[in-house]
């Protein structure tokens, strides 16, 4: 495992946090979290984007002052005029690295170094070759890719001079829609939503008819109820050739989460000890790692490292 090359990154906040909380979260990340790259930007809903705009400059400065690289993530679903303007303005600004989350961003980024995000369908080496040739330098894989496909991608990427990033913590993004399910739950539509998603900073829980927690709704996004946790798989992921490990933000103590992952990457603690630390967070939902093991995404396979 190439420990020294292993980087911990923080993905964009997917939820509609109160702008001041959002700003303070990133200030604390800048000051305390052992992450090397922070992805910023509203990737779920273009209506929310203006809420955070007043704080972008301060947050970016604070993160950069702490030696963290800032990358702007583009919208995952681009359809409306407003969505398109957002992608245009992010992709054509020349002072920030960009992570593309849909093909319209790729359209603008041709020939410029950029990242490709987990909302893109990055499934195989042929797709990587096409995108690397256009300027892609880092690929964050879709959450549903199993270990054998990750292995094959890592092998193919060695020839491309690009890095591979994998989400290792946080609820899994499972689907996007044109319809806002937060608005629907409250009897509203996307246009009349009144930002009702702000009430659920980790998403709104859907339960099946027999009462089992199942999915999480966040605007147009549907997520897993459980939290992905690949801390036990870190050594194996590193051995496969994955060099960047992404944490997806939640309201739990993300500094503690980052510290546990960093400690396992640095072999200061074992994966088992890392798992115990994450369990001590007492999250409202169980952990899962099924996708990585080729099983239903919700499942939890006791790690080989344990």
């Amino acid at each position: 495992m190439r420990d020294d090359a292993a980087e911990l990154t923080l993905g964009p906040v997917w939820f509609n946090w109160k702008p001041a909380d959002w700003r303070d979260f990133y200030f604390r990340i800048a000051d305390e979290a052992p992450v090397s790259t922070v992805y910023l930007g509203e990737v779920i809903c273009s209506k929310r984007a203006p809420l955070f705009e007043p704080h972008y400059e301060a947050v970016t400065e604070r993160l950069r002052a702490a030696n963290k690289k800032v990358v702007f993530s583009t919208l995952a679903e681009v359809m409306l005029k407003h969505d398109r303007q957002m992608v245009d303005s992010v992709c054509t600004a020349d002072d920030v690295p960009v992570e593309a989350n849909d093909a319209s961003a790729l359209f603008y980024l041709q020939g410029r170094p950029h990242h490709v995000g987990p909302f893109m369908n990055l499934y195989n080496e042929e797709t990587f070759a096409v995108l690397a040739q256009r300027g892609a330098q880092n690929f964050c894989l879709p959450a549903e890719l199993p270990a054998p496909a990750i292995r094959a991608l890592c092998e193919a990427t060695q020839a491309l001079d690009a890095t591979i990033e994998v989400q290792v913590f946080g609820r899994l993004s499972l689907a996007l829609s044109a319809r806002c399910y937060h608005a629907r739950a409250h009897g509203r539509t996307k246009d009349s939503c009144q930002f009702v998603c702000e009430n659920d900073p980790d998403g709104l829980e859907l339960r099946t008819l027999d009462g089992s927690p199942f999915l999480i709704v966040n605007g147009i996004q549907t997520l897993s109820q459980d939290y992905l946790n690949l801390i036990g798989e870190l050594p194996e992921l590193g051995a496969l050739g994955v060099s960047r490990f992404r944490l997806s933000p939640h309201t739990c103590d993300m500094v503690r989460v980052a510290s546990s992952f960093r400690a396992v990457l640095d072999r200061h603690i074992t994966a088992e000890e890392g798992t115990d630390q994450l369990e001590a967070l007492n999250l409202s939902a169980p952990f899962s790692n099924g996708f990585y093991h080729g099983k239903p995404g919700y499942s939890w396979i006791a790690s080989v490292a344990r």
């Binding site: 995952a76 681009v78 359809m79 398109r84 992608v87 245009d88 849909d102 093909a103 319209s104 790729l106 359209f107 603008y108 909302f119 369908n121 499934y123 195989n124 080496e125 042929e126 797709t127 070759a129 096409v130 995108l131 256009r134 879709p142 959450a143 549903e144 199993p146 054998p148 496909a149 292995r151 094959a152 193919a156 899994l172 499972l174 689907a175 996007l176 829609s177 044109a178 319809r179 806002c180 739950a185 409250h186 539509t189 996307k190 246009d191 709104l204 339960r207 099946t208 008819l209 027999d210 089992s212 999915l215 549907t222 897993s224 099924g290 996708f291 239903p296 995404g297 919700y298 499942s299």
Partner: protein, 343 residues
């Protein structure tokens, strides 16, 4: 814009009616019922309707192309799933076979697959599958520039007005869905089935695989449907049922007092009333969903839409009332196409 295949006296473009064929028999049925083009797939993960007992062998596809071409109908081959790394060969072989057999176009979604087809068989016509989820002019132009895509199948999330606007801004033809089962999630970007079952819609070509579908009917004929271990819906005696598809299930949440369809009700898309608008919006091809449905469905839907399109071209009032019997839950919707309030 290319692909105009004649027009009515009243200025409507004559659209291509693109119809589903899950089996050779369904393909012959669709052609006989008036399809201008049929779309189908191989018996493996290379297409998004990889269901048991469905689809075509190489020999069957070859015979089907001969049959369709003799009757002036086109055959479009769906190779519209996403090959996971290490398994690309199966998709490469499918493209090779499509070129060898001489299908009229290949419907692709994956950039790697599109790139392979474009570089290896420059003469092979490429259509961009709805699974690619290209929902903006820039995204569509990306695929046109990179892979020479000639037609885009638009996601089912746009209004007719938005379709007309996109038509003005892209260099390729538009194919739009007019009838059939609609999922609520952005196509090609949904892992819900994999989350519940371990089978991936994108990589394995199945949404709600039958092997994980369970129907339980109690003595009172209340029907519970499950996908894997999750209850998706429950229907009382006599209530019309639907497939256990996660995005059409009933759930509970704290914002609601009772169970509700959190994503969408079990309805089917039926745009027959919007046909004249779509035909004016610059849509080249009208697509009917349903490769997993029977010949009886293909016969009924294709012939009804054939009559409706011909009626509109001839300035007659189209009649489409009988189609509702074939829709899921026997209810239909115009989805996003009529108004953005749907969102």
């Amino acid at each position: 814009m290319a692909g105009e295949i004649g027009s009515g006296a009243n200025g409507y473009l004559r659209p291509e009616l693109v119809c589903p064929a899950g089996t050779p028999a369904a393909l012959r049925t669709a052609v006989d019922a008036g399809a201008d083009a049929v779309y189908c797939g191989f018996q493996n993960e290379t297409n998004a309707r990889n269901f048991p007992g469905l689809n075509f062998t190489l020999a069957e596809l070859e015979a089907a192309v001969g049959h369709a071409h003799a009757r002036k109908a086109k055959v479009l081959l769906a190779i519209n799933t996403f090959p996971p790394a290490g398994r690309f060969n199966l998709w490469r072989e499918a493209i090779d076979a499509a070129a060898r057999i001489g299908v009229d176009a290949v419907i692709v979604a994956d950039m790697g697959v599109a790139n392979y087809a474009a570089r290896t068989f420059p003469e092979l016509r490429l259509h961009l599958s709805v699974q690619a989820g290209a929902s903006s002019p820039e995204a569509i132009r990306f695929y046109c520039q990179e892979f020479g895509v000639k037609r885009v199948v638009l996601p089912r999330m746009l209004t007719v007005g938005e379709i007309a606007a996109i038509h003005q801004q892209i260099p390729c033809e538009i194919e739009a869905f007019v009838f059939g089962n609609i999922g609520m999630m952005a196509e090609g970007r949904c892992s819900l089935t994999n989350y519940a079952t371990g089978i991936s819609t994108n990589m394995d070509g199945v949404c709600s695989p039958a092997a994980d579908v369970h129907y339980e009917e109690d003595a009172e004929r209340n029907l519970t449907t499950r996908l894997g271990r999750f209850v998706i819906d429950r229907f009382t005696r006599g209530e019309n049922a639907g497939y256990p598809t996660i995005c059409k299930g009933r759930y509970r949440c704290d914002a609601r007092t009772g169970a509700y369809y959190a994503f969408e009700e079990p309805v089917s898309l039926n745009l027959s009333a919007l046909l004249p608008d779509l035909m004016r919006a610059g849509v080249t091809a009208l697509k009917i969903e349903g490769r997993q449905r029977s010949r009886a469905y293909v016969q009924a839907v294709v012939s009804a839409f054939r009559r409706a399109v011909d009626d509109i071209l001839a300035n007659r009032e189209p009649a489409l009332a009988e189609l509702v019997a074939l829709t899921e839950g026997r209810r239909e919707t115009e989805g996003a196409f009529r108004s953005k309030a749907w969102r």
